[in-house]
Amino acid sequence: MIKLTIDQSKIDEARNYAKNIVDSLKWLLNDYSSDTIERTIVRLFGIDGAIDETPIPNLVVEHLKEKNVIDRGAAYWIANSMLATNLSAQEVAEEISNGKLDVTSLDAQPDKKIIKLIDELTEKMLNHIKAQKKFRENKFEEFGPRKKPSIYVIVATGNIYDDVVQAKSAAREGADIIAVIRSTAQSLLDYVPYGATTVGFGGTFATQENFKIMRQGLDEVGDELHRYISLTNYASGLCMPEIAVMGAIERLDVMLNDAMYGILFRDINMKRTLLDQYFSRMINAYAGIEIQTGEDNYLTTSDAIEKAYTVTASQLINEQFAYVSGIKKEKLGIGHAFEINPDITDSFSYEFAHALLTSRLFPDSPSKYMPPTKHATGNIFKVYIMNAMFNLVSQMTNQGVQLLGMMTEAIHTPHLVDRALAIENANYVFNTAKNFAQNFDLLPDSFINKRAETVLDEARLFLKKVSEQGLFESMSKGDFADIKRTEFGGKGVQGIFKKSENYFNPFMDRMKAELNLK
């Protein structure tokens, strides 16, 4: 067996630092909320729709902020208004949105009645989400589990209907997971666009309707193929929990959900991101959705050998944040990437060592392995064999999810043909080298073993430093990816608030209880 010989105590030590880092932020996660968290609650009441392109959940939360009553939480206000007006949640929201209803003008209803109503509504939505979870589980039961490594491909035409055609074609070729890439920088929108969309830019907007359309397409083709085809999209950005909820409702199966991506790569305020990811991941956990982290991003800007330890460190931090939200090991897709300059002698051994380290650190988690992108050139033939080598590492080091590389990576978002060939590439390599690794022992004093140990050591020392000085401080010094972010800077900073004594988030409470979180 190809197994790293690494001192377990070093792993434990590194993991402990990560745990300390996350534990020291409990104050934030417990005492604060954000605009998008409140919008999520609004959505969980079943409220949807948009007026002049602005989603109703945004209008509702804007109203509560204007009236300076958001610190009690949206749940309370909606329930109170429903009881006071005898309208449905949707009607209440529409009235608010049309400026016809001022929630603070209504009489406060008895607490008991409010709680009862909220309980009912919570129950209803959570039951729907649980039903979706059950549906997925049944399908996997019926058709068998996802293969390993799973084949993950993206569609990104900008038009959800073209996307569906491409996704179905990919499923027929052997794809297990379809990711609909979002339109450029959707993560910076402080709302989730509404409805079916056909004009995206470098990707297709993540909307609830688009989720539904794609889900339906994949269910159709999956039933035909007797394979359950998973669907994924991105939670990251200024709307993490809202998108998580949309995914839960429309039965996405996997979601990209990184605790720090927004901070580092999108300049979103750190408190905002950490808060949002906390609730969004809890929703993912509750819905049985597998999350995936975005460590590959470090390597698109930094050198993949020199900064390999930042990937490891980030993985361990992401892991701890995930546990706090109730994500199970089996649903924790730990990100990493094959991004070393292919001209480097023995770059394959480096990649192998890095990939093996991820498997070793998270043996029970379905790692998400990202393909060569940075060193992809317009030489489609070269890129195609780089992808084959990438697929081989994955098969040999037992990765969970293989995000297939496209031979046209340096040219355009994938064409139908590019994707089909990428799947053929993976199928060929996975099958031809299926049990290849089983023939070997990894030598403890080998380059690969020593390299993995070095990366772990560097990550361990880095995490020690961060845990000593605190995550905020480290980020403000640019310790992560050489990017400096401050506690009070960044996008969405206005969207956080301290909860009042009588703040109320019934969904989080229910989820916490069911997920056994304190």
């Binding site: 055609v165 491409q166 359309i213 030489n379 355009h412 064409h415």
Partner: protein, 248 residues
């Protein structure tokens, strides 16, 4: 919800219906620089392409450069107007075929096969004829109602016809794998002309096969049927059996 494809005007598809996007790769005797790149672009332009993107170029030495490009064509094809001749007899498995001939023909069929003229690639004809067969289909040799002779490689047209007459064959199978400078066309034409001039054309069912053979091409060349890449013994066997049973 599906894309709205007009079968009378189909165009290449990259990622948007009718975008006409295609991939190209070629060498030019041009320098590996902006001038060469421009030459590559102009070439594609003259082919009527637009949105030309020279994605990559690389110096091959000796004055040549390799180019990889993507571009859009505006040309479309009317799919509804395309009718190609294909072998359309249903396909029977070996046992089925044996039984079919028992019931519908009642005689054995004699088959002579060869890879003719300069061509020595016997794997294809062997795949069709030999006992062992190919991809889980036994060869014609194993069929109960066929008597087969596989003459092997580089058999001249004369020899092949001679043998066919000698064993009183019903069917002649010819394989052609090498296609450089259209040698396969030349060889196949030679055989059929020879058969005609010797008055043998109608004595045998003439069937050819090989990676660049299609039924359409075979008919054009004066054969009764043609089988390309990925054809199996079952395909040929079925064609033969139906032919004789129906003629009877």
């Amino acid at each position: 919800m599906s894309l709205n494809i007009d079968p009378t005007k189909i165009k290449p598809y990259g990622d948007t219906l009718d975008d006409g996007r295609m991939q190209f790769s070629f060498a030019l005797p041009a320098p590996a620089n902006e001038q060469g790149k421009e030459a590559a672009k102009q070439l594609l332009q003259q082919m009527g392409l637009t949105e030309i993107e020279i994605s990559y170029y690389s110096d091959l030495g000796e004055g040549f450069t390799h180019f990889v490009a993507y571009a859009n064509t505006n040309i479309s094809v009317d799919l509804t107007k395309i009718k190609v001749k294909v072998v359309d007899t249903p396909i029977m498995e070996m046992e089925e075929n044996d039984k079919y001939l028992d019931e519908n023909y009642g005689k054995k069929i004699t088959i002579v096969g060869a890879c003719i003229e300069s061509d020595a690639h016997t794997v294809g004809i062997d795949a069709i004829m030999n006992m062992k067969g190919y991809n889980h289909r036994f060869g014609l040799e194993r069929y109960r109602n066929f008597i087969t002779y596989n003459l092997g490689a580089q058999v001249s047209s004369e020899e092949l016809l001679k043998k066919a007459v000698e064993v009183n064959a019903d069917v002649i199978l010819v394989s052609q794998v090498v296609t450089q400078k259209n040698i396969h066309i030349k060889n196949l034409t030679k055989l059929i002309n020879l058969a005609e001039s010797e008055g043998l054309r109608d004595k045998f069912l003439f069937i050819c096969g090989g990676p660049r053979i299609s039924h359409e091409l075979a008919i054009e060349l004066g054969y009764d049927a043609g089988f390309g890449s990925g054809s199996y013994s079952t395909d040929v066997a079925s064609f033969i059996s139906f032919h004789f049973a129906e003629k009877k």
